[in-house]
Subunit: 103 residues, 2 copies
DNA sequence: CCTTTAGTTCAAAATATTTGAACTATTGAA
DNA sequence: TTCAATAGTTCAAATATTTTGAACTAAAGG
């Protein structure tokens, strides 16, 4: 399996972050992650989105490669955690503002 | 010519706004608009982006239909103005935060 | 080992973006 | 009033991205 790509904090691009958040399903995932202040597996996200797992996998990849989540393999499941501190350092106020304005 | 579409303030969608801003060229245009606190025509935007006018026209359409700019026909040119007040009412803090974080 | 579970990867279909070319509308000049 | 110039839109074809089912991989538990 190809290694999961996690861009370094300093190389995060604003456009990538915005593009990752500019999708209803991904925004919903990020909102839930933020609300639960925790981690979420693909299967964990499934109930709230109702989309196939290959699509979900793709969405988590977009979030990961934009630097919004970190994915850690834990046994058979992958735990996705918000990179809150990195995002806040790189783009101060961005995620809170977007989430505050998310439906 | 089909009328230019300007969504009402209350019908603006966060995802549309984020998607419109999640593009290097459009972000550049919006930044310049904000910096000049003024208006910009397609041709006016051209020098800073170096992309064909049909593409530029498309980008302004995306910005317009997301509710980020209002386009007004003035003689032979179209003046695009940021909908700052509408955006601020609908999504408080969003545009300033994005622009503050834009390269 | 075999099965189950979680997720990735692949490839094809559906969708969106980019762009040159043709078109429309307004202005200004002859 | 007609002609040319300018600004921008619209169309359609090429290109790129997204979505998804199906096949695959990897870990855990019997």
């Amino acid at each position: 399996m190809a290694r999961l790509i996690h861009p370094a904090k300093d190389s995060l691009q604003l456009e990538h972050v915005l593009a990752a958040l500019a999708d209803a399903n991904r925004l919903k995932i990020v909102k839930r992650l933020a609300a639960e202040n925790g981690c979420m597996s693909c299967v964990g996200a499934s109930p709230c989105t109702d989309i196939p797992k290959s699509t979900l996998s793709h969405h988590f990849r977009v979030l990961r490669e934009a630097g919004i989540v970190a994915t850690e393999k834990r046994g058979v499941e992958h735990r996705n955690v918000l990179r809150l501190a990195d995002l806040e350092e790189r783009f101060p106020g961005l995620l809170p503002t977007v989430l505050r304005n998310a439906a």
